[in-house]
Symmetry: none
Subunit: 217 residues, 4 copies
DNA sequence: ACCTAATCGAGACGGTACGTCTGGTCTTCCG
DNA sequence: CGGAAGACCAGACGTACCGTCTCGATTAGGT
């Protein structure tokens, strides 16, 4: 998806913007984020240690803390880049587009590093408003953009009516997004059951049609 | 809800069932679970400490570990009882029943102790199959039972067609449950926005009808 | 010297005096102090690390900090026991007694662990009154006792006049003690030159007689 | 005393002697040494930090390390100049001269920066021969010169016999010096008691006469 | 008027030790 | 024997300095 407006995982915006002393090593940034993803996949959230990441990245702990104030922020950035691979296809129909993006999302949630990190991050974000904001900016909003895009495509095709006003549109996007993201996450991470093409089809039907088996109302 | 098959937060079934020496203090169990809930509400998941719980409950750490093998299991039990208050009403229509149960669930998620614990537990459960199983038994399954109940009620009223076969029914219950639970959790705990009656109405509409604005297909 | 009133290097008096919980391991105390002395001798004051001591003693850092609040206090106790070996002989004359005790003291200062620790402790004590107090109780006072003892022996022999009053006696003991201890320390640790029997003889002469070469006054 | 043979605290002689590039700032040297003394007085040896000194002196750490290889050497130079104020008076008698110089030395040891630095330096010197040499050159030898001077004055007055040979003289100077320096340091820095005129008088008596109270021998 | 070279400030870098905290286990005594 | 108390080992935490390095910007002397 959108490599349009994307920095390569910018660490800490509070860094001095202009160069007085020695500039920060860009290689260190990359090594740290890679190490974080690897460690997440191997050891999971609980096994992830700042010291461990630093060692594996060949970097001093100080360097790590200079850029990310804590494990939470670090993992947000490390995981965020994974979400960049989500893309909105244009397959000619709303149903096909939805099924495609749900499939992509499910594929992402199947990766061990995502699985290890996502719910843990959400849990931490529950208590820390700054972290929630960061999660929103780096993870949630890019996803929500997909919904916006898919919706616009469907409107252009004539499958959906054009927006009446911006506020309603926004609310509709929100509700659709929470439904898609929440349901897939709950299915995979809480119920622990796989997301198969069949399941995707049935879920899309739920979104697009009345409840299956609903008697004529 | 179902006080049918429910122990009053039984700690560890592996305990010696019969009294040889001094019997375990039931008061200790209650004090521990209360202390856990209080500490969760005050300090959140991260701030919850076994030592802290023990102190607050006026109990030795040993006693605590004798009953629950770790923080995770303890919190499952402490939080599970909160889910007992969920009940399936029979308000005469499927929509009304759904809206009622979603509202109850949202109310539960608004409590600080639930908020602090739920996602964290799910995150831990991602790695630990035994924990996931326990979560399922004590938290998820009781909720899923509500869906089953509501569905049966609607079938009796004639709003839904009767089940064709058990397998399909089960799958349909699963998908509905994941959608309701996942969406409400995502809305409240990840997006961090409130679940108002209006939102509930719109979400229920999404479940019961085609996408709003969907052009005639 | 006086094993009369001596605890085997009691760590921290602030410990709860009698046993409610598990008692502190006496073996750990011994292992820690031994490890401290060994590490001092090998690595010196600067190379001595709490973590290193703990590891070498086969003890957790927590155990170490439970007993001694910091490196300073730990080393005081570790070194103090070395000073227990100082004894006041009774060799029949004041000169012989002085020479013997100076020789013993010099021998003590020649040991690497003493050398590494003593001045560093004194330096730290300069800033920390509690540490200075502890140094005084565990290291200085036992030494000063030797002076008191030697003086009493000389008075019994008739080499010295009996005390006129306690205050004057105390002052005289102080000045003699500071002179002996300070001079030997300065010779060995600052000037870095050896304390030979010849030097001891000359120093004792300085104490007992007018300056060598002093013209008749 | 001797501003005779004194560089104004020359930092590091290993600097390239002749100017090709930009010359070193003399102001920086002064600022660094001043900052060092101030920080010593305020924070003590343990609180003294290279980074702190650099900041306080308005200088980069690099500049500091270009001149002094470590904290130890820096403090030697910073403190050494304080010892330049020691002077040998000629008050007409050996006793008066000794009492004067002991008083001066005690005054010096009463200053917080000296107190913080001296024993710490000696302690470090115990392990580092190069440092000990530097201490000797910049701090100890100038003091020892005072003893030599006072001795010569007394010989000229006829209070002391002339030297028989150089070696013996040197040894006698050494022992007197270690005694005076060591005793005063021990009294003030270890015992932590003040050096009053009365104490100086008694100490000088000890140096010049047999032990007080010594029965006729 | 240019070079050349060492200096300056700032600050990031890899390390290491710090002292604290928590997790689980164990050992003791009391009821 | 159960329970309270608390010591035990293990190890991660986030901070503070260490001494080195890499910058861009001065600031001289030598041509």
């Amino acid at each position: 998806m959108a490599p349009t407006t994307q920095q390569p995982a910018a660490p800490d915006q509070t860094a001095p913007p202009r160069g007085k002393g020695r500039p920060r090593s860009a290689a260190a940034d990359r090594a740290i984020l890679d190490a974080t993803r690897e460690a997440l996949a191997e050891l999971g959230w609980g096994g992830l240690t700042m010291g461990h990441v630093a060692t594996r990245a060949g970097v001093a702990k100080t360097t790590l803390y200079r850029r990310w104030p804590s494990k939470n922020e670090l993992v947000v950035d490390a995981v965020a880049s994974l979400f960049d691979e989500l893309e909105m296809a244009d397959l000619g129909s709303l149903r096909a587009d939805i099924e495609a993006v749900v499939g992509q999302f499910a594929g992402l949630l199947a990766r061990p590093e995502t699985q290890a990190a996502l719910l843990a991050l959400f849990a931490e974000g529950t208590r820390d408003p700054l972290l929630r904001r960061r999660i929103r900016e780096r993870i949630v909003d890019p996803q929500k953009h997909l919904v916006r895009l898919g919706r616009a495509q469907a409107q252009q095709r004539g499958e959906l009516r054009p927006d009446r006003d911006a506020a309603t549109a926004c609310e509709e996007i929100d509700i659709i997004f929470d439904t898609i993201a929440g349901t897939v996450e709950h299915r995979m991470l809480v119920s622990g059951e796989p997301v198969t093409p069949e399941w995707i089809h049935r879920f899309t039907t739920l979104l697009l049609s009345p409840l299956p088996g609903l008697a004529e109302q």
